[in-house]
Amino acid sequence: MKKVHFIALLLGTLIPSLAQADELNQANTAWILTSTALVLFMTIPGLSLFYGGLVRSKNVLSVLMQCFAITCLVSILWLCGVYSLVFAEGGAFIGDLSSAFKGPESATSMVGDIPESVFFMFQMTFAIISPALIVGGFAERMRFSSMLWFSTGWLVLVYAPVCHWIWGGGWLADMGVMDFAGGIVIHVNAGVAALVAALVLGKRKGFPTTPMPPHNMTMTVTGAGMLWVGWFGFNAGSALAADGSAGMAMLVTHIGSAAGALTWMFIEWKKFGKPSVLGIVTGMVAGLGTITPASGFVGPMGALVIGVTAGTVCFYATQYIKRTLQIDDSLDVFPVHGVGGIVGSLLTGVFAAASLGGVGLAAGVTISDQVMVQAIGITATAAWSGGISYILLKLIDKLIGLRVDEDEENEGLDVVLHEETGYKGI
């Protein structure tokens, strides 16, 4: 494992001091510039449209607005210190503030063989999509101001440390946790936060008796397609190079996604009688989230198994959370991203093994050793994200209130919070 993983680690930790001497590689730089645009494209407009179509028409703008505002907010916070908290030297738990309000050392400073400015931007787009994913957990009922406070707090207190633990040379990196593109850092992290948010905010008024079907499936499928394409930047870009590792990451990402989509579709077909459009695209997202941690480590056949597992496990997780437990995680963020991230991160430890077509585990590390390490990484992240998110939400609720009131919820957040509507009649 260590080879690829170590490169990612080195880039995260020993920069900019040690790597500064590296010569600029223009091919790598060009690919990471491209990947950065692709990953931003995942949030705006990919995820925004995916989520926007899934809510009721009276709340479509509120979701688009949340994703857009988070994009802006996280970008500024990233410059003001979050980048530094993640990637500056610091300690095992968190970076330091040495590059806060500064960002890259200079226009010529390097991370590995790409400019630090490019690395800064690329990583920023990952920080953007994480709180944007959580939106799906509290959609259709959260106050906008509370959402901004929560996203800010979560980015600083949850995302920054967790990302540092794994990609910034923190304690989980030292333990050898393998997370190529964010199965733990992003999907487990955001998925658990979304579940906690859904529980703390409570169900939408009328759930589960009142129908709340997606108001625009066309929008959702459009967004899903953009997510798939953007995910190439997410996973193949995480190689931080335009090389074979990036190529393999792209290949396994694609296979995982296709397998997840088909699996979900066939299960629905068998179980409910019809293959649904929402089913196939949800399976696609599940496949993508699940292959993410494994993307630079496994081979195509490993990806196929991971994708099929994603479609199956995430399907039943969605049924269980929503129908059996009746938790109103509005857009199923936890069962799709959280569960997908957990499954994928565990399976990374299995299919990264050279005997199963992967890049190989570190010398002397067995599959069960690695799976154990992965489990520790997942548990620590889930506990931290869940605990801190809970405290943050309770605190915000106490100070300014989390939810709009019942009348406002009936009216719809678009008019109440933004004095606009998504669709105009006469």
């Binding site: 129908p211 079907p213 997606p214 019809k274 089913g279 049924q319 929503k322 199923d332």
Partner: protein, 112 residues
């Protein structure tokens, strides 16, 4: 004068419009509506959550017409809208007291 109100399947609207044009009907108002009759609704399923859709989309046509053309118009609508399956719709005919053409102020049958 009569007011014909017809509820038809949305995809039959063009056929109905053509049939009405053929007999010389010069004006129709169309509205997208929803409702239920014997066809009832259907169910939709999103990530395993089933929703019963009670109201199906239909198109409502309103036609103001002179007495002598009523029978012909009804035939035209039926010929255009009929599929023979449940849910083809209905035609209502009601008396119409007055019609005013806004531009000229003409009233009665002249205004149709």
């Amino acid at each position: 004068m009569k007011l014909i109100t017809a509820i038809v399947k949305p995809f039959k609207l063009d056929d109905v419009r053509e049939a009405l044009s053929d007999i010389g009907v010069s004006g129709v108002t169309v509205t997208e509506v929803k409702g239920f009759g014997r066809q009832k609704g259907h169910t939709e399923l999103y990530r395993g959550a089933e929703y019963v859709v009670d109201f199906l989309p239909k198109v409502k046509l309103e036609i103001a017409i002179s007495e002598e053309m009523v029978e012909q118009a009804i035939e035209a609508i039926v010929s255009g809208a009929k599929t023979g399956k449940i849910g083809d719709g209905k035609i209502f005919v009601s008396p119409l007291e007055e019609v005013v053409r806004i531009r000229t102020g003409e009233t009665g049958p002249d205004a149709i």
